[in-house]
């Protein structure tokens, strides 16, 4: 459905701080907004794709986002462990941003390797949670789930398989129901869950 690179593309629109090493007095009027002025040594906000482009030309230094420190990530991890549901993260694209920044600008980010591990831990934990929720969801035969705070990349990791499974299940049930109706309309399935809405997270 969606290539991970396309999610990375979306993540590149997020705003990040850089410190340019060149001077450019006027604003750069991009279609997605105006950014500037660029003054050597003074931090400013730009989209990540601008930051990466400038960094690759070695004309700026990228400042790691606030959440991208080992301590902060550990905190998040503990919170995630303690909560039954998915917790809200500082950004929707934590995995992609970490990946991009560490690939292009690993020297700008202190403790890069530790951060990478911490992010991976967080990802693993959330994916494990997601998988068990999906399992429960399919087994209980619900039709609606709320998925607050799940990030696009996480959703994408279950995207083609999970909805397709549900589609197939629904089609099967429709067939069963329609043949049931023909045979015996009064006979209804006994054990039905009282509430049909299901929460992966609240």
């Amino acid at each position: 459905m969606m290539h991970p690179a396309e999610i990375e593309f979306l993540a590149e629109n997020e705003i990040i701080q850089i410190v340019p090493t060149f001077n450019h007095a006027s604003h750069v009027h991009l279609i997605c907004g105006s950014y500037g002025p660029f003054r050597a040594g003074l931090p400013l906000n730009v989209p990540i794709w601008v930051a990466l482009n400038l960094r690759q030309k070695k004309t700026c230094r990228i400042l790691a986002p606030d959440w991208m420190t080992v301590d902060k990530l550990q905190e998040r991890l503990e919170e995630e462990k303690a909560s039954k549901f998915f917790t809200q993260l500082p950004t929707n694209y934590y995995l992609e941003i970490t990946q991009m920044l560490l690939t292009v600008a690993s020297e700008d980010i202190p403790q890069g390797n530790d951060i990478k591990t911490a992010v991976k831990d967080l990802w693993d934990l959330r994916i494990a949670k997601l998988r068990s929720s999906v399992d429960l969801f399919v087994k209980e035969g619900r039709v609606q789930a709320s998925l607050n705070h799940l990030t696009p990349m996480e959703i994408n990791s279950v995207r083609p398989v999970f909805p397709d499974t549900l589609d197939a299940l629904m089609t099967l049930h429709e067939h069963i129901n329609s043949s049931d109706d023909r045979e015996d309309s009064s006979q209804s399935s006994g054990a039905t869950p009282s509430s049909t809405s299901f929460s992966l997270s609240l």
């Binding site: 396309e6 060149f22 750069v28 482009n53 609606q144 705070h149 129901n177 039905t192």
Partner: protein, 327 residues
């Protein structure tokens, strides 16, 4: 409405012709007023006129402005009367600003990006957003023209080029997704399109032409092949050709706006349930439950956009502000 505006204008002109409006100063092209109570009288008259005028703008189609002004030779008054500090032009500009604010290039880009994602994940084809796409293409064209003039050493050239590439990617991906859907559900799409009125067509004219040609070619192709088949198999039933999107397929969605009630059909238990979609919440549910909201949200945007698009691209085509309003 016309009548009231006319009467007001007429009275204004009579005031002027009677020389009661004040002394004309050729230098500033403004009238100077002698007494303050006369001024207030005229001011109230004018305010009334302006209100009527603005009302008429709201009510009338924008194209009709020209006609309106040709009916009332405002230009005649325009050259000689500039009254006080009320400037209709400002009022109108304000109005336009409100519309334009909705539609900066940035906003158009966001809309196209959203349309792209929606198109990617919805099982059926959605109403086209050609207006936005064309607006963006125009922007790109303009930007490319500007870039050609800049020197290559300018640090911003690279950024602009990169951005253009990014936007082009979104646009092509969006259009390609639509074409793919048209190809898959060709017969179905054409049938549905035929039932829709001119204003709410889902396909753009170009896409419609593509769909028709595609259907024709596919038919021709089947005909040629089936001619060589045994008699028993050489007919193709319409129902066998048709491929329909599964509207009940599950989609992940994020809610941009609070929706009070969404009905979800539970095929497992044959019941319906109602849920509330809160702002910014994310859900997984069958597409059919939210299909209307996905389409309608865009429909509203199209309307706003239509007005603004004209303003962005050709501000003076339909209505020459400078000539007319200097009441």
């Amino acid at each position: 409405m016309y009548e009231t505006v006319f009467t007001a204008l007429f009275r204004l002109r009579r005031l002027k012709s009677l020389g009661r409006l004040g002394k004309h100063s050729s230098k500033t092209n403004k009238f100077k007023f002698q007494s303050s109570d006369r001024l207030t009288a005229i001011r109230s008259l004018l305010e009334k006129l302006i209100i009527l005028f603005i009302l008429s703008i709201d009510i009338l189609n924008k194209k009709n402005y020209k006609m309106l002004f040709s009916l009332f030779p405002l230009t005649a008054i325009n050259n000689s009367i500039t009254i006080m500090d009320i400037d209709i032009r400002e009022l109108i500009d304000d109005e336009d600003d409100e519309n334009q604010e909705e539609m900066t290039a940035q906003k158009v880009l966001q809309n196209v990006e959203q349309a792209w994602l929606n198109e990617k994940f919805s099982p059926e084809i959605l109403p086209h957003q050609t207006d936005y796409v064309e607006c963006l293409l125009e922007q790109i064209k303009g930007m490319e023209g500007n870039l050609a003039k800049l020197s290559k050493t300018d640090p911003k050239v690279d950024l602009h080029k990169l951005e253009l590439e990014r936007i082009k990617f979104v646009i092509t991906s969006y259009l390609r997704t639509r074409l793919k859907k048209i190809e898959s559900f060709c017969v179905r799409v054409l049938e549905e399109e035929a039932t829709r009125s001119e204003e709410d067509k889902y396909l753009s004219p170009a896409e419609l032409q593509f769909a028709k040609e595609f259907a024709l070619n596919a038919d021709n192709h089947f005909d040629t092949i089936l001619r060589h088949m045994p008699q028993l198999y050489n007919k193709l039933d319409r129902n066998k050709k048709i491929i329909e999107p599964n509207l009940n397929s599950f989609v992940f969605l994020k809610c941009n706006k609070h929706i009070d009630s969404v009905i979800i059909k539970n095929t497992l238990e044959g019941q319906e349930e109602e849920i509330v979609l809160e702002d910014n919440s994310q859900h997984l549910m069958p597409y059919s439950s939210v299909a209307e909201f996905v389409k309608n949200a865009f429909f509203i945007q199209i309307i706003i956009y239509y007005l603004c698009y004209i303003l962005i691209s050709t501000p003076s085509k339909y209505f020459n502000i400078k000539n007319v309003i200097y009441v």
